[in-house]
C-alpha cells in the first residue's frame, strides 16, 4: 500500500475545505488542525494492526475521493422520503451528502430549550454548548478515521437536551448519500448532549440511493449527564458500493442509561466502532447489534464497553445473519478498570451462516483489573438448524419459507427489542423481501397477529 499517495487525496481536500468561509470558531480550527495532522502522521491502518486484522481498508485508501457536495436532484428527495419517519419522528433533520438540507427536513415543536439543529447552524452562532463537548471524546490519536473526520468538522447534527427535558418521539437524523460520477466522501459529525435527567430517543439513519461508489466517514459523540437517558438507534443502509466507517463515542455520567441498537444491512464495507465509557457510578449500558449481510458485503463491528466506575451493568448482544460470500467481524472488548468493582457485564455474539462461503470472525476480549466483578461472554456460529427446518416442513411450511422463518426468528431477538417502530418495520420488510417470502408468511404482521391473540 502506498500510504503517501493515499493520504494526499484527503490532505488536498483539507486545503480546499479550509478555503470555505464561515462556521469556524478558532477553538474548532485548532481541533480540525490536530485531527488532520494526526491523520497525516498515522495514515490509513493496515491489516497488520490488531484492530484492523480482519478488515482491509485498502479499497478506501486507494480511492481518490473528492469532498461530497450538495445535491438537489430528485434522487436525494426520493431517498429522503423513502427513509423518512413522517409523523413517527419528533423532528427529522435530513442531510444530503453530509450537508444539511433544510427543505427536506421537518422541524417540530420541541419541548422548551431542546435543540435539534444542524451542526453548521450551531457553529455559525458558536453555540456555547459546543466548545466544551465537540470533538472532545472520540479518540483522534488511535483511530485515523476519527482523526480524518475531525479535520472536516463542519456539518452534521447537534442535539442539546437541557436538564430534565423529555422528548417522547424519536429525533431522526437522516443522512442521505447520492453517488456522483466521481467517488466522494462525506464526514458527518453528530453531537448529542443530554443534561441531567434529560431523556430522548435519537435515531441515525445512513442511507444511499442509486449506483456508484461513495464513502461515509461519520463520527458521533454522545454525552449523558447524571440521570440522563438516551435510547439510540442506528440504521445503516448505504448502497452496495459504498464504504461506511463510523465511530460512536458515548460518555455516561452517574446513574445515566444508554441503550443502543445498531443495524447494518447496506454498504460494501462497513466498520463501526462503538465505544461506551461508563464514567459515573451506576451508569447502565445496553448495546445490541444486528448485521444482515449478503453478496460480498463485509461488516465489522468493534465495540468497547469501558467500565471506569463501580456498579455499572452492561449488556451486549450482537447477531449476524451472513449469506453468500459475506464476512462478519465482531470484536467485543470489555474493559473493567481497577476502580470498577461490582461490574456486571454480559456479552453475547451469535452468527447464522446461510451459506458455506460466508465467514464470521468473532473475538471477545475481556480485560479485567478489578477483583469483585461478574463478566460473562459467549459466542456461537452455525448454519440454520435443519432439525428445526424439518419440523416446520412437516407442518406444511415450504423449505424456503421455513429457512426464512428461522432467519427471522434469529434476528427477532434484536428486532423485537427495537422500540423505534419505523426502524423495526424496515428491518422486517428488508428480510421478507430478501427471501422472496410468500405472502402467507410475511412477518411484518407478526406483532399485530400476536396482539390479536393476546386480546382473545
Amino acid at each position: 500500500m502506498t500510504q503517501v499517495a493515499d493520504k494526499t487525496t484527503h490532505l488536498s481536500n483539507f486545503t480546499q475545505f479550509r478555503e470555505v468561509p464561515g462556521g469556524s470558531p478558532s477553538w474548532l480550527e485548532a481541533r480540525r488542525k490536530a485531527g488532520i495532522d494526526r491523520f497525516d502522521f498515522i495514515g490509513f491502518p493496515t491489516t497488520r494492526e490488531e484492530e484492523w486484522r480482519h478488515t482491509n481498508v485498502a479499497p478506501i485508501a486507494k480511492t481518490a475521493f473528492k469532498l461530497a457536495s450538495r445535491d438537489s436532484a430528485a434522487l436525494a428527495s426520493e431517498t429522503a422520503a423513502r427513509f423518512g419517519f413522517g409523523n413517527d419522528a419528533a423532528v427529522e433533520l435530513v442531510f444530503v451528502n453530509g450537508h444539511y438540507a433544510p427543505h427536506l427536513s421537518r422541524p417540530a415543536k420541541l419541548p422548551r430549550g431542546v435543540r435539534a439543529i444542524s451542526l453548521a447552524d450551531a457553529l455559525e452562532s458558536d453555540d456555547a454548548a459546543l466548545e466544551p463537548h465537540l470533538a472532545r471524546y472520540a479518540d483522534v490519536v488511535k483511530n485515523p478515521f476519527v482523526a480524518l473526520n475531525a479535520g472536516f468538522i463542519r456539518d452534521g447534527a447537534f442535539v442539546h437536551l437541557p436538564r430534565g427535558a423529555t422528548v417522547e418521539k424519536p429525533i431522526h437524523l437522516l443522512f442521505v448519500s447520492t453517488p456522483s460520477r466521481e467517488p466522494a466522501v462525506a464526514h458527518p459529525r453528530v453531537l448529542v448532549v443530554a443534561e441531567e435527567g434529560a431523556q430522548a430517543t435519537v435515531v441515525e439513519s445512513y442511507v444511499g440511493g442509486g449506483k456508484g461508489v461513495y464513502f461515509t466517514n461519520a463520527v458521533t459523540e454522545i454525552v449523558a449527564a447524571p440521570g440522563a437517558r438516551i435510547d439510540h438507534c442506528k440504521l445503516q443502509q448505504e448502497n452496495l458500493e459504498a464504504f461506511h466507517v463510523a465511530t460512536m463515542q458515548v460518555q455516561l455520567g452517574r446513574d445515566s442509561h444508554f441503550v443502543s441498537h445498531s443495524a447494518s444491512i447496506g454498504s460494501r464495507l462497513t466498520r463501526n466502532d462503538l465505544n461506551v465509557v461508563m464514567a459515573g457510578e451506576h451508569a447502565d449500558a445496553t448495546v445490541n447489534g444486528l448485521v444482515l449481510a449478503t453478496g460480498e458485503q463485509h461488516i465489522d463491528n468493534h465495540t468497547l464497553l469501558d467500565h471506569a466506575q463501580p456498579n455499572c451493568p452492561s449488556h451486549e448482544l450482537y447477531k449476524h445473519v451472513l449469506g453468500a460470500k459475506s464476512v462478519g467481524v465482531f470484536k467485543g472488548r470489555i474493559l473493567v478498570r481497577q476502580a470498577a468493582q461490582k461490574t456486571d457485564s454480559k456479552q453475547t455474539s451469535k452468527a447464522l451462516l446461510l451459506s458455506d462461503d460466508a465467514t464470521m470472525h468473532s473475538m471477545p476480549a475481556l480485560e479485567i483489573y478489578a477483583d469483585d466483578v461478574k463478566c460473562t461472554h459467549g459466542s456461537s456460529l452455525g448454519p440454520v438448524d435443519e432439525e428445526q427446518v424439518f419440523y416446520l416442513r412437516t407442518r406444511g411450511v415450504g423449505l424456503e419459507a421455513a429457512r426464512h422463518l428461522m432467519t427471522y426468528a434469529f434476528a427477532a431477538d434484536i428486532t423485537r427489542r427495537i422500540r423505534v417502530e419505523p426502524v423495526r418495520r424496515r428491518l422486517e420488510e428488508y428480510m421478507a423481501a430478501q427471501h422472496g417470502l410468500p405472502i402467507d408468511l410475511r412477518i411484518t404482521d407478526l406483532g399485530a397477529h400476536d396482539e390479536a391473540v393476546r386480546q382473545l
Binding site: Q388, T394, R395, A401, M406, Y408, D413, D440, D450, V453
Partner: protein, 257 residues
Amino acid sequence: MALLEIKNLHARVAAPGGRDILKGVNLTINAGEVHAIMGKNGSGKSTLAQVLAGREAYEVTEGEVLYKGQNLLELSAEERAREGVFLAFQYPVEIPGVSTSYFLKAAVNAVRKHRGEKELDAAAFLKLVKDKMKLLKMEPSFMNRAINEGFSGGEKKRNEIFQMAVMNPALALMDETDSGLDVDALKTVAEGAASLRRPDNAILVVTHYERLLQYIVPDVVHVMMNGRLVMNGGKDLAIKVDTQGYDWVEKEVGQLV
C-alpha cells in the same frame, strides 16, 4: 385401495458409510384403522415414522410407499404435510423466536392453499384453534409462546397433539407420544388423539406401553425388530408385550431375523 401401503422398505442413514436401519418393512393401513408399532429402543420405529414424513437425513435404498395410491417418496416433507400426513415427534423441536400461533396459522394456510381453499384470516384461525385448545386443556397464553421453547416434556407432547387436531390429517403418525407423560396428561393427550379418529383417516401409533392403546384401541399391533415388522396381532399382543417384554418374540421369530 389402502390409505398407506409400504412394500419392502429399506432405508439407511444418508451419509457416506451410513448404516442400514430399515431392512424390509411391509405394512398396509386402510382408512378408518388404527395400527400400533411396538418394539425395543433402537429397532427403527422412529426412523420409519421420519422416513414416512420425508426426513432427508435418511435415504430409501429399496422398496416403495404408496399413499392414497401415489408414490409418497417422491414428495417433499411439506408436500406430504399438505397432502394430509402428520408426524407427532418423539422429540418435538424447540424453535425460539417463532410464536406458536403465527406458525400454526402459516401451517394451516399452507395446507388450505394447497387444497385450493381460501386462507384463514386471524379471526377465523383463532376460532378454529379455540376448540382444539379446550380439547387438549391448553392455557390461552400458550399460543403466544415460542414453539416448544422452555416447555416441559408433557407440554411438548400435548402441543404435538394439539397441532395434529388443528391440522386434521388423513394419516397421523404418533411417535411415542405417551413417553414421559403422567397419568392425567396421558389421558388428555390420548383422548384428544382418539377423538380425531374417523372412517376416512388412519393413525399409526408408536408406543412402548399398552396404556395408551386403551384409549386409542388399535385394529392391528405390530412388533418391530431390527428394522422389520416381525409379528402382528390384535390388541392382546400389546398386552403381552407390555407385560412380558420382547424375549419371547425374539425366540419365536429368531430364525427370521
